[in-house]
Symmetry: C2
């Protein structure tokens, strides 16, 4: 009997946002791979499972690779897929954690592609999760689309003129991976006169969390960049009388 590979979106932060079904998978998997960034001592995906009941002794942390050239990324995920497929062939089920949703700006896509090449015959299932931008929206009462509205999800560009143009032709913009551009983004929102109805979430559920339902007055951008999402509306939301 071969084991199944399960890709699990665990949601952002330890809020218990893991879907019920994904927790059930986690409780029965033989091995749980928890990716960890090279710049962080801990797995953020694992931290998102704080307080939930599942066997910790089955976890193995693996470093994930997001940057680098295509060849290097390809080799990294091919090696990981080779190792996971061997476990599956030995009958062990393998869960792989991914922060937020499974297929949204996630390294899981690379791994699934590598597994498909390595072992197209082995069973795989991916479970979706809750995104950081949906969590930020829930916490701040920010609507991610009403009626015919158009919502753009994008990693923050370096060029603020490009971001300005995107804001002007979409109703809602959810800005991921803001990083060191936070000061420029905040300045742009003030300049456009829309900061009051824009929102921000930083380190959701983690130490140093900041959740702001309005960006007027502008917060200090100092430490707000990493693990932040900014929610932008071109116009103030409709309020039914």
């Amino acid at each position: 009997m071969t084991g199944t590979f399960y890709g699990l979106g665990v949601g952002p932060g330890p809020y218990g946002l893991l879907p019920v079904t994904a927790l059930e998978i986690l409780q029965t998997a033989d091995l749980i791979y928890a990716p960890r960034s090279r710049v962080s001592p801990d797995s953020v995906a694992l931290a998102a499972l704080d307080g939930l009941p599942f066997p910790r002794d089955r976890v193995r942390e693996v470093e994930f690779l997001m940057d680098g050239d295509d060849t290097r990324i390809g080799e990294h995920y091919a090696a990981l897929a080779h190792e996971i497929a061997a476990h599956q062939r030995a009958g062990r089920s393998v869960a792989y954690l991914t922060i937020g949703d499974a297929m949204t700006y996630s390294t899981l896509g690379y791994l699934v592609a590598a597994l498909t090449r390595e072992a197209p015959d082995l069973p795989r299932r991916v479970f979706p999760g809750v995104t950081s931008y949906a969590t930020a929206a829930a916490l701040t009462g920010f609507s991610l689309g009403e009626g015919k509205e158009r919502v753009l999800i994008l990693p923050c560009p370096d060029d603020m003129a490009a971001l300005r143009a995107d804001i002007l032709v979409h109703d809602v913009v959810a800005l991921m991976k803001v990083g060191r551009r936070m000061a420029d983004v905040l300045a742009l929102l003030q300049e456009l006169g829309i900061a009051e109805h824009c929102a921000l979430a930083h380190r959701l559920g983690l130490d140093g969390e900041v959740v702001l339902p309005s960006l007027a007055p502008a917060p200090d951008p100092g430490r707000l960049g990493y693990l932040s999402v900014v929610l932008i509306r071109r116009e103030a939301p409709r309020r039914f009388a």
Copy 2:
């Protein structure tokens, strides 16, 4: 003691995609409002909770209003907010179910705005959920953004020229509420030569579910429109060698 209002995104279909924390809230709430469309005999939100343990006798179905003019929608949600606030003041906690994510093209936004006007002093919390498009992506292995990619979420326009223009300037398009335009959408994807790497999910987890990881050859659009999402990529996905 006043009761708390909880807005809960329950995810699409009975896949157990409700977040763990939302299920805990559901198990303790005094009243559970389950919105039901006027054209449907059952609550799709309630169907998404099939098989999950919570007290069914606390559920009350309410008709929701998505269409109509602003005045009518405003009156509808003001009346609902008035009723819910009275329960909260009597010490009862109230959960309100919403299919998919809580703030993504959801009527919950209207209700939260009405509650804020009716009773700004009463406690409210909104929990995010899993969207239909993230679920469709997980089931079909479709990546919702990699690296610097831009992802557009939008309700399907009537005008296929507008949709074509949107596909050409975004890397990924998740098309909601396709309805009777399904045949036109499928024809456009064939014409653009990208149908092979586009995906579709219809009635996720419900009777008559259809999940297609490729739209070439084109499926029969006949009954695929309602409760469908189409995932579109302008170019074939990168595959690391």
